[in-house]
């Protein structure tokens, strides 16, 4: 085991795949110098580490074209909102081509984008678009929350055959964690139970997983045992793990730092309401951001996101209802 940062784990995944498979290459703005610090790609040379102009549509599309013809590109978008400049290539082309052309070719394309928020970066750099892109059938969406999962999920994405959108939260990229020294992958499409509990299920995405773990710890003071699930893969979503947990606990809080309307939180809630309604002992609670762009002022922005205190309050509310119901 090694203690490394999330970003280093993600980069290790790419470098290791590049060493073993000459079809893997990277491209993006400032990829050679590394906008978040040295990316360590020097050993591969300029042909496989390609600095691009600020032409998101062109280099995302070039990634699609390369993937259709035998390469395994890893395209770096720097910031998730830059995806919108390549929206046609992502939503109309990468996502649809395999289906639309009757499966004539796979598209082993990985698109990585950092997700900034909570850092006073203001509206144009602060979106959390996992729910937005989940509305596009054909995209696989991974949102790793630990160095271990970042490395394992990115390796799975590079080795697969589908277009994968990998959304990496900036605040998590700096966090350290244990990563095995041997080659391993984390399967796409599997959520992880981060801590087991019996009274309450908390399903979370991105750094809300860490907020939820803190909240679960706080709830033990109230004698409430919370189970925390990290979604890890938004598409395809591991509905089974979520429903199994709710079948046990009977209570669900979904924590998603993105705007609530038609969000991942909504999808998780609807899944449980449809599949496990009779198991529920109280209403599902969604803790999300309000439906507004992210303001610049830290004093305003900090009001937006679910906090451990908000999760704890929701957990207490749900479990009080249990006590009232059972008398």
């Amino acid at each position: 085991m090694s203690q490394i940062t999330y970003l280093e784990a993600a980069l290790q995944a790419i470098r290791e795949e590049m060493r073993t498979n000459p079809r893997v290459f990277v491209m993006g703005e400032d990829i050679q110098s590394g906008v978040f610090g040295d990316f360590g790609f020097n050993e591969f040379g300029g042909a496989r580490v390609r600095n691009t102009p600020i032409s998101e549509a062109a280099f995302v599309g070039a990634g699609i074209g390369a993937a259709l013809t035998g390469m395994r590109p890893v395209v770096d978008l720097q910031c998730s909102t830059f995806l919108y400049s390549a929206m046609d290539q992502v939503a109309n082309q990468a996502a649809k081509i395999r289906y639309m052309f009757g499966g004539q070719s796979n598209i082993p394309l990985v698109i990585r984008a950092a997700v900034f928020y909570g850092v006073s970066a203001a509206a144009h750099h602060s979106d959390r678009p996992w729910g937005l892109f989940a509305q596009v059938p054909g995209l696989t969406i991974i949102v790793p929350t630990t160095p271990h999962d970042a490395k394992g999920l990115i390796k799975s994405a590079i080795r697969g055959g589908n277009p994968v959108l990998c959304l990496e939260e900036l605040s998590l990229r700096r966090q350290y964690g244990e990563v095995p020294d041997h080659d391993y992958t984390v399967p796409i499409g599997s959520a992880e139970v981060k801590c087991a509990g019996t009274d309450l299920t908390i399903v979370a995405v991105a750094s809300a997983v860490h907020t939820s773990l803190a909240a679960a710890h706080m709830l033990t003071d109230d004698g409430i045992s919370a189970e925390v699930i990290d979604i890890r893969t938004v598409v395809p979503m591991d509905r089974q793990t979520i429903c199994k947990s709710v079948a046990k606990t009977g209570r669900l809080i979904v924590v998603d730092p993105a705007p609530g309307t038609c969000s991942v939180a909504s999808e998780v809630s609807a899944t449980v309401a449809e599949a496990s309604f009779v198991r529920l002992r109280g209403p599902i609670i969604r803790l999300t951001a309000p439906d507004v762009p992210v303001p610049f002022s830290r004093d305003l922005e900090c009001l937006m996101y679910p906090t451990a205190d908000k999760i704890v309050a929701a957990g207490r509310r749900l479990c009080r209802q249990r006590i009232a119901a059972t008398g």
Partner: protein
């Protein structure tokens, strides 16, 4: 055959059988599209953007490629895979939404693709496949092959962002792309003069420091010659070329049953272009230069007509997709 004919033909670098193939492919597109038009009128096909009038540009360019080279197209999509040599029956079946279609009935008229023939797809979004063509060329370069990619686009696409981004990217990386503008003068129902401040889109090549050439898009041999030069340049590492073929579509932007479009093209203009029919021009050349007889041309026409009818019969008798096809082919 005239005295100077052997010399002119040898300069073309085309064998007589290749010249016959050029005529055959142009006729395939023409007759296929005429048949599609009939089937749109009867309601058997819901609609389509026909390539009638633009055959010389498509075939001249495609015949400059090798089988293993790549090609991308656009919404005026039927001609490109035919020009690239894809068989007609799965293309026609696709237009009828049948499971034997080249895309298993999931792509349809604007999204034909025949990967087995290097056709990486057509697109309903103007300009959208230009970045993908650049990526295919990048892939060829990284894999160490000498494949090139022919990227068809229209005059309308020349005003899209992806046009500029793609030509720039291919230019800085010296990628083997031939950007082939089929300039038919109209972006849907709006003339080029209303949307574009220059007469020749090829002039935009200068902005990206690559060669740009205008060619008569109704002269299949002229297109073939210019594109062959661009292909040779691309293959040898010289980078992309922008070729603009001036051409014309005879039909409406799209042919859908019941469509009523107010006139937007001058009648004299249509007369002018119809008098420069690419198939008539090339047939005449074959007669003058190769001593082709009317019977030889008619024979190729008859064979092609039979080939199209076989494709139609195949498409009609093919089954519709099984309901479980709805959910297949999305993911590996």
């Amino acid at each position: 055959m005239t005295d100077e004919a052997p010399d002119r033909i040898s300069k073309l670098g085309l064998h007589p059988h290749e010249l016959c193939e050029i005529l055959r492919r142009m006729l395939r597109i023409r007759i296929f599209e005429e048949r599609v038009y009939e089937m749109i009128q009867t309601g058997e096909i819901s609609g389509g953007h026909l390539a009638i009038g633009q055959e010389a540009t498509i075939v001249g360019a495609c015949m400059a490629l090798r089988g293993g080279d790549y090609m991308t197209g656009n919404h005026r999509s039927h001609g490109h895979p035919i020009g690239k040599g894809a068989p007609l029956a799965p293309l026609m079946a696709e237009l009828l939404g049948k499971t034997s279609g080249v895309c298993r009935g999931k792509g349809g008229t604007m999204h034909l693709a025949a990967f087995s023939h290097g056709s990486l797809g057509e697109s309903g979004i103007v300009g959208s496949l230009m970045p993908i063509a650049v990526g295919a060329a990048l892939s060829a370069r990284l894999r160490g092959t000498d494949q090139v990619c022919l990227c068809f686009f229209g005059d309308g696409a020349a005003n899209c962002g992806p046009f500029h981004e793609s030509v720039n990217l291919a230019a800085i990386w010296k990628l083997p792309v031939i950007f082939l503008c089929e300039n038919n003068g109209y972006a849907m129902f709006t003339s080029q003069a209303q949307t574009t401040p220059i007469a020749d889109i090829a002039n935009r090549a200068a902005a990206y420091n690559i060669p740009g050439t205008v060619v008569d898009g109704q002269d299949v041999l002229a297109v073939h010659s210019i594109v062959s030069d661009a292909v040779a340049r691309a293959r040898s590492g010289g980078g992309p070329t922008l070729v603009e073929a001036k051409t014309y579509r005879y039909s409406e932007h799209s042919d859908s049953a019941g469509e009523r479009i107010p006139p937007y093209r001058p009648a004299a203009e249509m007369v002018y272009w119809r008098a420069r029919d690419p198939i008539v021009i090339f047939s005449r050349w074959l007669r003058d230069m190769l001593n082709f007889t009317e019977d030889q041309v008619s024979a190729i026409q008859a064979e092609t007509r039979a080939e199209v009818e076989e494709a139609v019969a195949f498409a009609i008798r093919s089954p519709v997709p099984d309901p479980n096809e709805l959910l297949t082919d999305l993911f590996v």
